[in-house]
Amino acid sequence: MSIQTMANNTFGTRLSSILKKNVPFLILIFLVILFSFIAPNFMTFGNLRTLIRQISFAGISAVGLMFVMISGGIDLSIGSQIVFGNVLLAIMMIDWKLQPEVAIPLILLVGTGLGAINGFLCIKLNIHPLIITLGTSAIFKGMGYIINQSRNIMGFPDSFRWFGQGFVWGIPVPVIVLILVALIGAFILTRTYFGRQIFALGGNEEAARLAGVDIKKMKVLLFMICGFVSSITTVLLLSRVFAGQTITGQGIEFDCLTAALLGGVSFKGGEGSVFGLMVGMLIIGVLNNAMQLATFPDFSQTVVKGSVLLIAVAFDVYQKNRKAKETVARVATSA
């Protein structure tokens, strides 16, 4: 291997290094080509628009999740936050007779609050967020069931329909929201000092603390951001379904997490990009969509989804190991 890798500016090796860095993107292109041959109705404008709209809900929440993940944390309660928020928003508009323009800001506030609860528990109990949010997930979901009282809450004003079902220049509103959230997320992560501090926190928490970062405040803030972003999804989903029920949003964190891992957001923190995340989200969207077109049974779809999550994790670990090996080789020669 030695002589070939030494001459690392030949065309072939440069191409292979570019390809290695963009494996998820290649997988996406491969899947799109594959399905456009297998399923004749895949490559239609209508279907693709549906596909993009389908992923936009989880995609928005995934941006929030990515903020937490880059800092080294995780939030498994996203779906349950949406369950609770969804029912509460419906109750606000129907039972409390609040107008959408009052209810929506309130629910965004509530969502941020749920995130703050996660954050505070994490820093006060000092337990891994995986466990904390597993616990709060059950609590939020349970609260959603309690206040819902097994009803199907309906009868929202027509003006509320726009968020989940409307179009702007032919583009579904949730897709536009996703694009906005993704752009703002990418800007914060790559251009602001706050973004830099998020990466630092995930890269080396102790070094970040000693460099003057208030890591406790940061952690709470990141969970609040995640909660806030997910409550945007709450609003869009309720408007889309147009009925307040506890089923909406359940398990959405599964897609978010898979997309993040597929897209190169590290489980250990310190790494990730919005571009990668969106590629990961599209892979999931294409798979889901293709399975629906092929009328796969629901249970088989679940098996496929689980497999994809594990493959994504394996890929994350594989890349880590490869990098570690390269580093070992380099350090062994220089130390």
């Binding site: 291997m1 251009r191 830099r196 990466f199 080396n204 603390r209 460099a211 080789a329 062994a332 020669t333």
Partner: protein, 495 residues
């Protein structure tokens, strides 16, 4: 006197992408000798011991152990031949007890059941022969670095070790602990164990070794009888050019008091008072566990202070967090640069600019142009060797990583710098550069506190030394009274 050769390396070559790490290296090691291996970072010492331990596959060459020739070595084979390596990074399970670590994976002869009492008894025996008091039941994570080191040695000794390879074993140890380690090494030598001793500290090489081999740029240079060589010759052989290990003379005398500490207590330290002037290097001496690093953490706000006062330029200040310390222009270069000082997977420039990232941002957006300028400026000023500022810090050598840590504190324009073991594990050339930088900083009016376990460096660099012992101030020594034995006595609580 013809001694028996136990390990002989013949024409070992190992190639990594882009680098010839070992180039036709041949060295032989005799039974019962302490054989020092010297060389700058990148000379190939670590790769060589990995080859012997079977941690890497060699491309060509022969490893001969006890008369048997091997062209491929595996970790299991190496172990079974009695080779044990103590790496710089310990191979200990932090959540198991000392006894369990020493006898990890070992089965009892009499019973299929694991007997904690039995291995504890055995562990006490091993530790007793070293003359140290460590409770075999205490968890490894609760031990100091020096104590962990001793557990590592005990682990190797508990097996039937014939060739013991030690990679920078003295780096984390204080003077008295190094003495203890030398005692252990001599005991092993008497038993006929061959010890391959890798160290950057030349005075140790002269103290302990019988022969010394020098490597440079992946090549074997020569082997000398330690008695027949001197430090100047060894340094020349190592760097391939004349290089004097000396401590720079300072041009200016210290100015006003920059930092004064009155009776501070907390983090295990009690009632410590001292002051340091602008342009002065104050050495902080003490044994491992004397509370030196703990003192640095207190001053930097990284650990809570229970009582006492800190004055900067004569004004009392409150330091509750590292951010407070940074705002008061205090910089800390931690002992554990990988664990606490650096973001290893981030670019060099991100590391340098991180402490001031807020200051170079407008409306929260980082001014990347300014960031590049600052990173470039300090890269040049302290000569960080990196192909690009975008390079990940993990890919730099130890000396250059330490310079990145220093650049961070300089970029923050600190007036008071705390160096905790500034030259641990870095090679001779890089050490010199660090010394010159520290001296230059002092001449520019920066107050420097230097914690070090390297007595030579402490005596050479400091203007004044304070000595800690068991969390308390044991004494203060002026430059004209510098004396290694006196300082050691203070550190051991004799005076």
């Amino acid at each position: 006197m013809e001694a028996k050769v136990v390990l002989s390396l013949e024409n070992i070559t190992k190639r990594y992408p882009g680098v010839l790490a070992l180039n036709n290296v041949s060295i032989s090691f005799q039974e019962g000798e302490v054989h020092a291996l010297l060389g700058e970072n990148g000379a190939g010492k670590s790769t060589l011991i990995k080859a012997v331990a079977g941690a890497i596959d060699i491309d060509s060459g022969i490893i001969e152990i006890n008369g048997h020739e091997y062209s491929r070595m595996t970790p299991a084979l190496s172990r079974s031949l009695g080779v044990e390596v103590i790496y710089q990074e310990f191979n200990l399970v932090p959540t198991l007890s000392c006894a369990e670590n020493i006898y990890l994976c070992e089965r009892s002869e009499n019973s299929v059941l694991f007997s904690a009492r039995e291995i504890e008894k055995k562990a006490v025996k091993v530790l007793d022969q070293f003359g140290v008091k460590i409770d075999p039941r205490s968890m490894v994570q609760d031990l100091s670095i020096a104590e962990q080191q001793i557990i590592e040695i005990a682990k190797a000794v508990s097996k039937n070790v014939k060739i013991l390879i030690m990679d920078e074993p003295s780096a984390p140890l204080s003077v008295s602990e190094v003495e203890l380690m030398f005692k252990i090494i001599n005991q092993l030598k008497q038993k006929g164990v061959t010890i391959i001793y890798i160290s950057h500290r030349l005075e140790e090489v002269f103290r302990i070794s019988d022969r010394v081999s020098v490597m440079r740029d992946g090549r074997y240079v020569t082997t000398k009888n330690t008695k027949e060589t001197n430090r100047q010759e060894l340094i020349t052989l190592m760097v391939g050019r004349e290089l004097k290990e000396s401590y720079p003379q300072r041009k200016k005398t210290p100015g006003e008091v920059a930092l004064e500490v009155r009776n501070i207590t907390g983090n295990g330290d009690r009632n410590i008072s001292f002051s340091v002037r602008k342009g002065e290097i104050l050495g902080i001496s003490g044994l491992v566990g004397a509370g030196r690093t703990e003192l640095a953490q207190l001053l930097f706000g990284a650990a809570p202070m229970e009582s006492g006062e800190i004055l900067i330029n004569g004004n009392p200040v409150r330091i509750h967090s590292p951010l407070d310390a940074i705002q008061h222009k205090i910089g800390l270069l931690t002992e554990d640069r990988k664990g606490q000082g650096l973001f290893l997977e981030m670019a060099v420039k991100w590391n340098i600019s991180f402490p001031i990232i807020r200051r170079i941002s407008k409306y929260g957006v980082v001014n990347t142009k300014k960031e590049d300028e600052i990173a470039q400026k300090y890269k040049e000023r302290i000569n960080i060797k990196t192909p690009s500022l975008l390079q990940q810090v993990i890919n730099l050598s130890g000396g250059n990583q330490q310079k990145v840590v220093l650049a961070k504190s300089l970029a923050a324009e600190s007036d008071i710098l705390i160096f905790d073991e500034p030259t641990r594990g870095i090679d001779v050339g890089a050490k010199q550069e660090i010394y010159h930088l520290m001296s230059e900083l002092a001449d520019n009016g920066i107050a420097i506190l230097m914690i070090s376990s390297d007595m030579e460096e402490l005596l050479g660099m400091s203007d004044r030394i304070i000595v800690l012992c068991e969390g308390e101030l044991a004494g203060e020594v002026q430059k004209e009274n510098f004396n290694q034995h006196y300082i050691l006595d203070l550190a051991s609580g004799i005076h």
